[in-house]
């Protein structure tokens, strides 16, 4: 009976259906596994842009210890990183460099905008050298408000990002 079904004309349809069944059976768990893997080893790029880096440093210190949540300290080459934490103000001089750093990173990559300055310009809304937020430079996944955000807030932002990654479709 199967032989009769697979005529040369219907083969395409059949292969397509088989693919659907496979994705249903294998894809979902595989996607979950890949997301799970990405979730617990987020490597932030070591790019400090302004004063929020102090609180980022404090968050990786012993009291807050962001490593518990799978955000590993910002060391190493950007070619192996998958997270940009934009730590504060982006000036006009820094913006092209930030974009360059973002472009050099391999996919998938996530961006956290930390601090009021990275979101809207914050305290420096009327400064001549500060961009009003980084949305025009790189796409942002999670915004963390505060000037500067407390380390707890940063950790919460990281957890939000992990929630987001959990539901992401694997490309």
């Amino acid at each position: 009976m199967l032989k009769e079904l697979i005529t040369p004309n219907a083969a395409n349809v059949f292969v397509g259906k088989l693919g659907d069944i496979l994705i249903r059976a294998v894809g979902k768990p595989l996607e979950y596994a890949i997301d799970w893997g990405r979730l617990w080893s987020l490597w932030p790029v070591h790019i400090e842009t302004a004063c929020c880096s102090v609180e980022f440093g404090a968050a990786s210190g012993p009291r807050f210890d962001v490593e518990r949540f799978g955000i590993i300290e910002a060391f190493g080459s950007l070619r192996q990183c998958d997270l940009v934490v934009v730590q504060g103000t982006i000036t006009r001089k820094m913006a092209p460099r930030l974009r360059m750093v973002y472009d050099q990173m391999p996919d998938p990559k996530y961006v956290i905008a930390m601090g009021a300055c990275a979101i809207t310009g914050g305290l420096y809304f009327d400064s001549y050298n500060v961009l009003p937020g980084i949305d025009g430079v790189i796409p942002v996944d999670v915004y963390i408000p505060g000037c500067p955000p407390r380390p707890e807030t940063l950790i919460q932002g990281c957890i939000l990002l992990q929630e987001k990654i959990k539901r992401m479709k694997v490309r």
Binding site: A50, S53, G61, V101, L123, Y124, N129, P148
Partner: protein, 377 residues
């Protein structure tokens, strides 16, 4: 032996000994700045610092805000030393507006600024540890720093951006039983600093890396106008707290720590010795502080400065920090110039890194007690 080639066939020799190397702004050993270095093999031939990645135009913004509105954004250049950067601003504005500060506020200011100096120096020490690959020295100061932050949080309500100093005194009084907590913390911290000495400063690996790296002679330190720990590590006895005492530093018991070597090791050790002095100052200030009284002189709303100018400086974690304020009888200052220690220490980087090994760059660079955000303002 030279082989003669006919004219027109000689190959031009390309000099490939010297290579240009960009360090930063995305680099674990640069911070918020870029160093354009020319290297010959492993040796640095020349170094051209390129700051300005965090230049936010504080001085321009200050001209559009009145004397009280200027407080929050002026402390942002060094948020982990925010009391010390607001100190000269408050002193200068008090000069301009002719305000007298209550006695108790003066002592609390001194205490807050010393606590904040410890917070700053511990952060600096933590990063110095990580620059030299000494992870314990990242974790220990970061942990102890939180205890100081707790104290300052109890004082002012914010973790790092205190905005605690205002022209005319401080924003609010210290909480009850603060003195006791402060004393306990200082006692604990002094014991802890001795452990730092054992694990970090007596560490042979650290000594090997930093001793003799980037030597700044006394005459050069003076000529280049360096300040703070860089200057004191080169054997110049200069501390604004001693030489030009502001508020109540005159009556407090402390010493200026001077080392003679002028290398990275000495430069990294002076802030550590300063922290010990800070503990002494805090303890002394707690003893001499008036137990009650007002902490803030009331200002008129929208105070106006006269047609005058003021230059005041204090000793911050990074050296002398001056504020030059020109006023023209308006509610906003006409011009605010912030002369920061980091910017003044930046100038000696090309001189120190010349001829140094590339691997010594982080050790020399961070020993300059340099905070790029402050230098760029």
């Amino acid at each position: 032996m030279t082989t003669q080639l006919p004219p027109g066939m000689q190959l031009e020799k390309v000099d490939d000994r010297i290579m240009t190397l960009n360090v930063g702004p995305q680099h674990p050993g640069s911070g918020h700045m870029r160093l354009i270095m020319k290297v010959d093999g492993d040796f640095i031939v020349s170094c051209d610092p390129d700051p300005g990645y965090v230049h936010r135009g504080e001085e321009k913004m200050a001209e559009y805000r009145n004397y009280i509105q200027n407080i929050p954004h002026l402390e942002r250049p060094v948020i982990h030393d925010s009391c010390n950067i607001l100190y000269p601003y408050c002193l200068a504005v008090e000069d301009l507006l002719a305000i007298e500060v209550p006695e108790r506020a003066k002592y609390i200011r001194v205490m807050a600024s010393e606590l904040n100096r410890c917070v700053y120096t511990l952060y600096w020490l933590a990063i110095y540890g990580i620059f030299l690959g000494h992870s314990t020295m990242f974790m220990w100061p970061m942990g102890d720093r939180e205890l100081f932050i707790d104290l300052l949080e109890a004082m002012s309500g914010a973790r790092v951006t205190h905005a605690y100093f205002v022209p005319g005194g401080i924003r609010n009084d210290i909480p009850a039983n603060f003195e006791e907590r402060c004393l306990r913390q200082v006692n604990y911290f002094e014991k802890r600093l001795k452990e730092y000495e054992d694990i970090f400063y007596q560490n042979p690996v650290l000594k090997q890396r930093t001793e003799g790296a980037g030597i700044l002679s006394k005459i050069d330190a003076i000529r280049l106008g360096t300040t703070g720990s860089v200057l004191r590590a080169s054997g110049v006895d200069f501390d604004v707290r001693k030489k030009e005492p502001y508020d109540v530093y005159e009556s407090l018991d402390f010493e200026t720590q001077v080392l003679r070597e002028g290398d990275s090791y000495a430069r990294s050790r002076v802030p550590y010795l300063d922290m010990l002095e800070s503990c002494r100052i805090i303890r002394d200030a707690l003893k001499k502080m008036p137990k009650s009284g007002s902490v803030r002189t009331k200002l008129k709303p929208n105070p106006k400065g006269g047609n005058d100018e003021a230059y005041r400086r204090v000793e911050s974690g990074r050296g002398s920090l001056g504020m030059y304020i020109v006023s023209d009888s308006k509610t906003e200052p006409y011009r605010v110039k912030i002369s920061v220690g980091s910017f003044r220490n930046l100038i000696c980087m090309p001189y120190l890194l010349k001829g140094e090994k590339l691997g010594n760059m982080p050790a020399v660079y961070w020993s300059l007690n340099y905070w790029p955000v402050e230098a760029d303002r």
